[in-house]
Symmetry: C2
Subunit: 411 residues, 2 copies
């Protein structure tokens, strides 16, 4: 059995670049930018008025003149005007071009206007005051957003500003989530005594939506022939298969042998961790094909994450393994991991990594991980009370209050 | 001019319950749960096998018997079987019901099977070992998720488990985002020298999508008559109007007077903060109507957030004011705010609250706010380099390294 670090390294070394695609910028929220975004002009693109008021000549003002005839108005969105007589002024609006022959802006708050004449009530001004000079923020050609950045609201605003109506983003793998287990019935059904409802596929699908990854869902019966047929087809159609269930030693746990027969190479099975130990991971290399009609994605491996059927196990493994695999695939590198401080002493006897369900609290700027009371392997309802998983390393049984461990936030 | 706390309190006191609606549980991710979710049965719903192996009678085992004829197989998803002869055993699969007359499960790892007989290689067992007893996690009727919780992947799994195919969630307000300013052109256009592209409406729309709130977008010209007409209509159609621009002292800053003429009560204009000072907030009480055909949402106020046109100002105000207003409206209370520790000394002279753009780092479990170098009022591109806003209070000019301040994360 390998440990969590080995498991993660194997998984990360099987991350894959799925290429790029062009999308409307308004649809790019949450996606990963795959082109550098440059300033298409200076920002601001002209000497820009920063306050509503009047603009006039600094040199005239410093000579002592305090009353200025208003020649007109320079509105935002209007072509640049010229101050015709330097003893006069123009009313100017925030966002407007600073008129030619004027070089200071005095806000309305500091003037009085009567009969078309602006009287200024201050004696001190600074050259270029209240003017946002052309190119002060950025120059044309400056790099505004480097590629491989996640597109959030701020990036959307920048894309709009530079007119990138179409933007290159990372393509996402095509993902299928498969549940197995004959005890599972549909959510809409009333289960018989020996049955339970399917839930893992939905919580995993939701976890993937947090990454802006959509996915399909399928349920397969514990029947080897139909598993062979269905999984063979899915291996062709999808880049990633996520299974939940049927990876243990049970008589009907056909997933590992079916995957083997379909040419999916097992890279590991079982990880020294709790929960989530019977996790199976493999890939089908692109060159091994089992059907003549495989043509499309022939250069891509299909990777297979086969999680245990226990809801908490599947949830933990998705966060711990699928998330970094996906991030490495689309960002080109793993995301930085967070750490948090344990609020209380905690003991865990088995010599394997333990994912402790915790509530993450921000106390005076410190991230404090508070274990859920009565925490066991846990049912799914516990996950609704926790907000993160604290990763307690193997080789230790006592975890002291105040010690710092890696943490995986999920809300 | 009021301060940020006064502004926020006025805004929070104008939060509003928009009622509830029923949605498919798979579409409820990110929404706010508006009903308590109870266990529809015990969890597990039956004494459940936890390991693949054999089940047999504890009392027979402790009498010394170590070889058991296998009577058959109890699969997961099959009705409960009975161990007919207590000297025998049944093969049992993870997730199956524990067969009647058996009360321990011994995993395959600890037995050998030959000619239909299981030989057990251990001498110590515990009563009920590897059995997850009915109701151990939850009893029928137990509260699993209290209402007013945000629905994340974990909650989706619980909703599926208890068969909540339809779930009650908070209705969201209908939001319109309006840009004004004749200097603004469409993203797809090439601006003339005195023009810039619209960007605020898109970044604000994206900020709202982070809250799972969709919104419409409109651009209005700086023309008082058309503003009056368009805004009158929008006040009827929407619960929330978010403006950006035209709230200062400019000649064409018609928004405050237009809102006033349309019966929108100004609750404040201008807040002691930078950026985002010229923020205008108001509401139109439901009883004041200006057209006979207002019938639908007649019990609701329309609230109006009129942000400044500066992209960073609008962004900051949306995070600082719209976010808590929305959270109070749908959750019934404000979300807990985070704090972070300043990485370096920082000075800010004006006696107003300053929203400092910072990168938030987790260093040994501490949230450290690192100011962006060369931080000014800032252009939108700076927001792509930062990840949060540190809220530095008024009444101080020096902010010391190590001091803790409220922080608003936005990525």
């Amino acid at each position: 059995m390998i440990n969590v670090l080995e498991a993660k390294n194997i998984i990360l070394s099987n991350s894959q670049d799925y290429g790029i695609e062009s999308v409307d910028f308004i649809d790019s929220l949450g996606r990963v930018l795959k082109e550098d975004i440059f300033a298409d002009r200076d920002f601001p693109p002209f000497d820009r008025v920063c306050m509503d008021g009047i603009s006039l000549s600094y040199s005239v003002f410093v000579k002592g003149k305090r009353e200025f005839v208003i020649e007109g108005v320079q509105a935002a969105g209007s072509p640049q005007k010229t101050l015709m007589n330097s003893d006069n002024c123009l009313e100017v609006m925030t966002g407007a071009m600073v008129p030619i022959n004027s070089d200071i802006v005095i806000p309305y708050e500091l003037i009085e206007i009567e009969n078309g004449i602006a009287k200024i009530s201050i004696d001190e001004v600074k050259e270029l005051q209240n003017i946002h000079l052309r190119g002060k923020d950025k120059s044309e050609g400056d790099l505004l957003i480097p590629k491989n950045k996640k597109i959030t609201a701020a990036e959307i605003g920048v894309l709009a500003t530079v007119g990138k109506i179409k933007v290159l983003v990372a393509k996402r793998p095509k993902v299928l989530i498969v549940s197995t287990g004959d005890e599972l019935v549909d959510v809409s059904e009333k289960p018989l005594e020996h049955q339970i409802r399917r839930s893992n596929v939905y919580s995993i699908q939701a976890l993937l939506l947090n990454l802006s990854v959509s996915s399909d869902i399928k349920h397969l019966a514990d029947d080897k022939d139909s598993l062979l047929k269905e999984i063979a087809r899915s291996l062709k159609e999808y880049d990633v298969l996520l299974f939940s269930g049927a990876v243990s030693k049970g008589k009907f746990d056909y997933i590992p042998e079916v995957l083997d027969e379909l040419g999916v190479e097992k890279l590991f099975h079982k990880v020294k961790q709790r929960p989530g130990k019977p996790f199976w991971f493999g890939r089908r290399a692109s060159l091994i094909t089992y059907n003549d009609d495989i043509t499309n994605n022939s250069k891509k491996n299909t990777v297979v994450f086969a999680f245990p059927g226990n809801p908490v196990s599947a949830y933990v493994n998705c966060l711990k393994y699928f998330y970094p695999w996906y991030e490495k695939s689309v960002f080109g590198k793993e995301k930085e991991r967070e750490v948090a401080r344990l609020s209380d002493d905690f003991n865990f006897k088995a010599n394997i990594t333990y994912f402790l369900q915790v509530q993450l609290k921000n106390i005076d700027g410190e991230l404090i991980a508070v274990p859920l009371s009565g925490n066991g392997s846990g049912d799914l309802a516990n996950l609704t009370e926790a907000s993160a998983l604290l990763e307690l390393p193997a080789n230790r049984t006592e975890f002291k209050k105040g010690a710092v461990f890696p943490v995986i936030r999920y809300r």
